[in-house]
Symmetry: C2
Amino acid sequence: MRRPTIADIARQAGVSKGAVSYALNGQPGVSEATRARILAIANEIGWRPNIAARALNGARAHAVGLALCRPARFLGVEPFFMELISGIEAELSARSYALLLQVVGDHEAEMGVYRRWWGEGRVDGAILVDLHLDDPRVPQVEEMGMPVVVLGHPSAAGSLVPVWADDSAAVRETVEYLVALGHRRIARVAGLPRLSHTAIRDRAFADVCAGLGLEAGPIVHTDYTGEEGARATRRLLSSPGRPTAIVFDNDIMAVAGLSVAQEMRLDVPADLSVVAWDDSPLCQVVRPPLTVLTRDIPAYGAHAAQRLLALIDGVESRSLEVRASRLTTRGSTAPPA
Amino acid sequence: MRRPTIADIARQAGVSKGAVSYALNGQPGVSEATRARILAIANEIGWRPNIAARALNGARAHAVGLALCRPARFLGVEPFFMELISGIEAELSARSYALLLQVVGDHEAEMGVYRRWWGEGRVDGAILVDLHLDDPRVPQVEEMGMPVVVLGHPSAAGSLVPVWADDSAAVRETVEYLVALGHRRIARVAGLPRLSHTAIRDRAFADVCAGLGLEAGPIVHTDYTGEEGARATRRLLSSPGRPTAIVFDNDIMAVAGLSVAQEMRLDVPADLSVVAWDDSPLCQVVRPPLTVLTRDIPAYGAHAAQRLLALIDGVESRSLEVRASRLTTRGSTAPPA
DNA sequence: GGAGTTCACTAAACCGGTTCAGTCAAGGGG
DNA sequence: CCCCTTGACTGAACCGGTTTAGTGAACTCC
């Protein structure tokens, strides 16, 4: 039982393929009566357009690509990507676009994937995440001519359309809040130093500390894993003049840090305040629940997808700034003892 | 600057399109000298096959579909899916297959997505997850005739190829271990009752308890969120004859349960032993680190993908049993006080 | 009432590959 | 020396749509 084609419909309706094509695509060129008849037949025999045939005529592939370049074991850890993906999807599926996903090992492999997808006509565009400082992907993608939206700060996006949030503002809000509580020694456990948003947060952290007259708080870089978060915390808490507050770049490290503090018989929040970047259910189930920098990640993804679809449709669009992370205070922060 | 086609190559090489096609696909019909010349030209002008054109000839779409039917906010919580996806991908990308991903709201939407993907020739097959009891998707997918691999117990997979692990054995191992430690009152905080693997674990739990002469331990069903895990734990720990050990169906609930116990001034593991299903970095960063049922989720996904690719290639394959979860003991379990 | 316009529709080309049926020349066997 | 096979290659059909050029009839308008 072959899949029905427009030729089948044409035969049954006693018209030409062309007429069927017009009817099915809502184009002028057929009478309303004929159109209705054709639609009825198409519906009855369960016809579906063959995207391959459509794509062959230069039509859209109706898919966009996303290649994630982090080791699988790190990916599972952070809810970020899954939430991002569901946000992207919400926007895409509303327009019947599919998402092509691939997990790759490095940027070279990632570019290979994009080149293949684009070259084979599989995707109409892509979303670039985890921007690096001087990211080699940016010029390469620019050269390919593929519509691309970048998740990250405009300063790193070259001529590509960036969708971004003002992390500096979030850092400022956090540090100012901790200082208002009375903290003077604040540390930051950051993610991968080569990621551009890490650099931006690092700088903002240093700037805000300086602006408030604090001595520059220590920054420790990690790979986002709980182990490194724990190690960093241990180091910070063992140092002379240890911090009374630590801001972590993700939730898993914050939880690990919380455990380390408790192991070291430090009370959270009395002896140490803890702030995590990005809220997740995890932050609310630990004791004390974590004060977090909350942002709407699905919305972030949705905005990126929307921007990309516009770009694919030929609508020129520039930078889009989404709402920055906001501080949600819970039990893990308090004035220092 | 149009994308180069085989016609361009043919013109430059002074041969016909057919010859180019043979050469590029490693088929007989051209001399080695000509083949080399054609390949060189193809390479030089950067030719890529247009999958749409290939697909039109009845070739594979070189993509498989995965529709996830859980609310976005639950998806982000569990590392399970991200790990599963990276496992699937590892296998797919080795064979240059792409993964089409969509997050859907309910089973009806999910079937709609599969029908569309399959009808449009976008995918060559799909992976079905989160099997329900009497899952309506199974007969519907069977009727579609699409190659499908099911992640779940054969008893629920109908005529579809199941890839599954023996959860009963894992439950047995866990309960026997807890009983050997001296526990007599063991409870289970389970996931969604309509999922078939929940039912299987429930039954196994009851059977093993009965077999060991324990009175049937209480089972509380939840939606996998930390809140419900916490509520369930609170209820269990407040009941007369409260359990001395609780087995949770995922990590986030176990962590929530751990917090609840600590809030109630119960020491883990002295007053309460905690076991989580599925290891994740999270389980190792909390204090005490959690005893868990570990399984290799990426391998699970990889096996499913492999089975699906075989099915697409027309290789008949039957049920595949992967290694069951194994108990990894950490600090959260001990003999009852 | 003849020219021009619009409408509804058809036939055929086209997209970029694959594949089948031939063609033609070289080589081998009897 | 001729027939037969084999190898290398060509030309054209084909996949399932879209799109363009064209056709015939009805309708409008002066």
